[in-house]
């Protein structure tokens, strides 16, 4: 079973990030589960969400303590939260940053992606969560592009409309297409 932890700030969509990843994994014919740690939400406060992906039915209901992969939606969180806490030995941290990975001295494998810049290009706003999911899929090969696009429709078509759903699919294309 693969366990993933997502760090974001309130309003950045960390919770949606987890949900979309779980939805996409489901469409890839896996068992999946996603849930947030709920606080009394405030914009900008550190937020965490979790994803589990498995070939077998997932019964575990505790929080994720030993993630294999950590997504960091906002690099300033690294100063506030220990994003590597409990990370497995061969774990990976994917950070939204315009800096190279070697600039982050985290004692583990790090990848960076400048999701904010791409988001400005696609959405005209710094909405990074879809791009971070795309980066995750591209780096790990754990979620297919087709399932992610399906997940965007499921997440956004009803609640936000076709325009937003299409933009998010475009964001997935943008990041998974580019090398």
């Amino acid at each position: 079973m693969l366990e993933i932890r997502i760090h974001g700030r309130g309003g950045q969509g960390a919770v949606s990030t987890g949900q979309i990843m779980a939805i996409a994994a489901f469409h890839d014919k896996k068992e999946s589960q996603s849930f947030p740690i709920f606080g009394v939400e405030r914009s900008g406060a550190p937020v965490q969400a979790f994803v589990r992906i498995s070939d077998k039915k997932i019964n575990l209901r505790s929080q994720v303590y030993h993630p294999k992969i950590v997504l960091v939606l906002e690099p300033s969180l690294i100063e506030v939260v220990d994003v590597t806490q409990g990370l497995l030995k061969d774990g990976l941290v994917i950070i939204n940053s315009d800096k190279p990975a070697k600039d982050f001295k985290l004692n583990c494998k790090v990848e960076t992606i400048d999701a904010t810049s791409i988001a400005m290009k696609v959405f005209g706003r710094p909405i990074v969560n879809t791009l971070m999911i795309g980066a995750f899929a591209k780096i790990t090969n754990l979620l297919s592009k087709e399932s992610l696009k399906k997940a965007m429709d499921e997440k956004f078509l009803y609640s936000k409309g076709k325009k937003i759903s299409d933009l998010n699919k475009k964001a997935i294309e943008e990041i998974m297409g580019q090398k």
Partner: protein
Amino acid sequence: MRKIIEASTAAAIGVKLSRPQVIPMYPITPQTHIVERLAEFINDGELDADMIHVESEHSAISAAIGSQATGVRTFTATASQGLALMHEILHIVSGMRLPVVMEVANRALSAPISIWNDHQDSISARDTGWIQLYVESAQEALDTVIQAFKIAEDKNVLLPAMVCLDGFTLTHVFEPVDVPSQVNVDKFLPKYKPAFCLDTKKPITMGPIAYPNSFMEFKGAEHLAMKNALKVIKETNTQFKNQFGRGYGDGLIETYRLKDAKYAVVCMGTIVGTSRVVVDKLRKQGKKVGLIKLKSFRPFPIEEILKVTKGLKAIAVADRNISLGQEGALFSEIRSALYGKSKTIVSGFIAGLGGRDVKEETIEKMFDKINNGGTIWLK
């Protein structure tokens, strides 16, 4: 059809498929997503029901009495302080023998304020005459609400029912769920035919004064109805299993890897899922352990508990609630069920209050201290 949805959505779909006609509601965290989804279903024309926006939970459950009394299938949902505010009316729903169904998104009670999960809210409503069914997954939440209407409305029961699902720990989890078709649910749960209702053509009085010469008879009848529910819950689970291909133990309890077990943990709600994982882990180490999931807390399945604990050396009872100064409610019930009839050691564990995460290690500690015989707080 298999989908991946939030457990609150699954719970709301279960309600929609049961076709209630009136939903009086007042939002409270972490129950809100359930009634939000129902409002969407009504708005989108998927559910033909009237939603009554009231000013408090006391009014929500009072409106539910009014609507159910006129012979209409009625649903509401609440949590925590909301359930506490309903408390005096909860007795009236059951006393008037109105089969209202309510989802409780279990949450701690203040003070101090906590929006997170434990079972203190519904356990504090134990003696209100409501059936209480606890679920462990989104699938079970969906399936159980459909069953709850059938159980509550059975002519040998006619009591209201709560479907209790862990706030956040379950309500806010996205996971795969098999959504049954409306046609199949209609077959399982036909159109509501009230056993009695307010009708100007055939006037009756509900809930009048009962003098000392009749009050005990009313309560005796309710008590019997709750006992009857034991059988009805089992039958309903069997029917559900036959029609939908999945069931939950015998409807009252479910056992997991208990066959040759010497030790077992007993629990309700989402702790069950994590306990399954721990049982598998300990079994791999060669330990003879199993699990007893208690689904029906009211009515309490005394005979079934006696049967499945036979021969066990010790059991660990996990309580996500506390009767302060005493012990957990499930522990009291289990010990009382076994008293004088069993040599099994019963140990109680208080865990997961106010959203404290129940980890695999928490359950492992229970197995470690299973011979204790008292009550231990697992922080």
